[in-house]
Amino acid sequence: MGAEGRDIVVSIRGLRNQFGSQVVHEDLDLDIYRGEILGVVGGSGTGKSVLLRTIVGLIRPAEGQVTVLGDDVLAETHDPGDEVEGRWGVMFQDGALFSSLTVRENVEVPMRTVEGLDPDIRRQLADLKISMVGLPYFAGDKYPSELSGGMRKRAGLARALALDPQIVFLDEPTAGLDPIGAADFDTLIRGLSRALGLTVFLVTHDLDTLHAVCDRIAVLADRKVLVTGTMEEMLTVDHPWVHEYFHGPRARAALEMRDAQSGLNGG
């Protein structure tokens, strides 16, 4: 799709994931290019989160090859400690913050692995990350249980960004947020991705997020990546599920809203 010349940061080949007799992925291929925001969609149970967990090494696939930044993450010699070097960050659905630490301490956790970092500077950098994801200063002193769901997600993102990773994995970043909060989060992801030069892998159900944020969309169906491409390309795919997904009533509403917005901006 016109992207041959681009730098591939994550490459998945022939992936097969299986739980008991249930095959989730079979012969799945996917490339993620540097600096793009890739949205992964698919029906419930098509293994979107499983794919994310496989790439970050939480699930070991039955077969296949996963290469992240030129490194085979499934190789026996691969040292899981390498990831801590700040090459990727993961934001889980509800933030997955450590409940016994404050938000600031949560963001500091990955930075503690950096040798020779002054604790005071670490604190200030944590405050900076908290502010960059749009949380107020006082949120740093709060415990995760004292925050709302949206704030926990932002704090989770701040922790994922603590070491300036090159790739961020986001699991349903806008699920459970109100439309305004979700739109803010979309803007935040887009802005941070541009400012920090991030590559973003985004699992979502939210059509508005797909429209507003993603450069490219990958559709998971029939146990593989059925099709990848831009939103416009998605609209021309005639696989029944893809067609239903991108032409359903909710999709039309999201599309109209985006057209109205771009009309305002363009005109």
Binding site: L69, G70, D71, G86, S99, S100, M111, V114, E115, G116, L117, D118, I121, Q124, L125, D127, L128, K129, I130, S131, M132, Y137, F138, D141, P144, S145, L161, L163, D164, G191, L192, R194, A195, L196, G197
Partner: protein, 376 residues
């Protein structure tokens, strides 16, 4: 992967401008050094930062440069950043805009009255906790009377289920514990009483201490550990997942469907467990007396029937329902206090066990005083 270029910093102090030349890849690992160098810069001249040779810039470095800028601005000088690529420039701008302004909360000054206030808070908290427990006991009684008036509402299946959980499944541990206590008492009693040639009184010692106190008290402590925690965990996790809210919207009374069968099961089963514990304790004592003191089981039972008044058994068993209510109410109350996070579930569960055991022992002490006063 980035090529590992070492970060370089060069400071040229000119007469009217200080120039800092940065080069290489600057990351989080080097920010401590960079920040120290930048803080040491003289603040009486304008500053220039040349970043043309920088190959990598992360947010930590951008933070160091942005804080430098705010320091320089505060000192009334100017800072010029040159040679930043488009990526670096946008990063610098984003970071510069995001730097938080600390709104440090004023530490409350230390006063003696604060300690007094804390103490008062603890006392008031303890009193309101006792009141809350009393409230839950009242809730249990109301549901019990309602169940008596409307027997169809009574959750029989749940009661039977909890009787099995609370009673039947505790029989092995309670029996073993009581048997061993009997053994220990007989052994210790024998060693002491032998000095006076009064070995035969070991039967009285075992019988009175087990029937009056130990059998029921230790059973209650084991049940408090097993069951109060189970109640708190079960009700607490329902509270966490909003199941109890759902019940209320569906018109199901949690007191009726959750508390009543649990506490009632305890009231039914604890005396039975206590009886089993008494029996096993006597058997344990009997076995040990036979082995250690050659008191035959027949002699043991004769001595037991002759020398031990039935009132000891009554004194012991009367306490059982009270302990049951204490354990049940503490467990259910703690479960309802669980908030929506898993941490509070764990804290409440362990608190429930401690409170239940402590309350059982306090109640036992009160019973001892009471029975001493009425001469039983």
């Amino acid at each position: 992967m980035d090529e590992g270029q070492t970060p370089e910093i060069e400071i040229a102090e000119g007469a009217d401008v200080v120039t800092v030349t940065l080069g290489g890849a600057w990351t989080l690992a080097d920010v401590t050094r960079l920040d120290a160098d930048l803080r040491a810069l003289p603040s009486d001249r304008p500053l220039g930062v040349d970043m043309a040779a920088v190959t990598r810039l992360d947010t930590a470095t951008a933070w160091a440069l942005s804080t430098l800028k705010s320091r320089v601005d505060a000192a009334g000088q100017s800072l010029e950043i040159k040679g930043a690529g488009p990526g670096a420039a946008s990063l610098l701008q984003t970071v510069g805009e995001a730097i938080p302004i600390p709104s440090d909360p004023a530490e409350p000054p230390f006063r003696m009255s604060n300690i007094l206030a804390d103490l008062g808070e603890v006392v008031a908290g303890a009193l309101s906790f006792l009141l809350a427990l009393l409230g839950y006991f009242g809730l249990f009684l109301i549901s019990l009377f309602r169940a008596l008036r409307h027997p169809r509402d009574f959750p029989v299946t749940a009661l039977v289920h909890h009787c099995e959980q609370v009673g039947l499944k505790a029989v092995p541990i309670v029996s073993l514990m009581a048997f061993l206590i009997g053994v220990v008492l007989a052994f210790q009693g024998a060693t002491q009483l032998r000095q006076f040639g009064a070995e035969v009184f070991v039967v009285d010692l075992i019988a009175i201490s087990i029937l009056r106190e130990l059998g029921i008290l230790l059973t209650a402590i084991i049940v408090a550990g097993r069951t109060a925690s189970a109640f708190t965990a079960a009700i607490g996790s329902m509270k966490m997942r909003e199941e109890i809210d759902a019940m209320q919207t569906l018109g199901i009374d949690p007191a009726m469907s959750l508390f009543l069968p649990r506490i009632l099961a305890l009231i039914i089963m604890l005396p039975i467990l206590g009886l089993i514990a008494n029996l096993m304790g006597l058997i344990g004592g009997c076995v040990m007396a036979w082995v250690e003191l050659q008191i035959s089981p027949a002699m043991f039972s004769t001595r037991l029937v002759d020398g031990t008044d039935i009132s000891h058994v009554i004194v012991g068993m009367v306490k059982a329902p009270v302990f049951a209510v204490i354990i049940g109410v503490v467990g259910c109350h703690a479960g309802m206090q669980v908030k929506s996070n898993a941490e509070s579930l764990g804290r409440r569960t362990s608190a429930a066990v401690v409170t239940a055991i402590f309350s059982v022992i306090v109640a036992d002490a009160l019973f001892s005083i009471f029975f001493a006063q009425i001469g039983m």
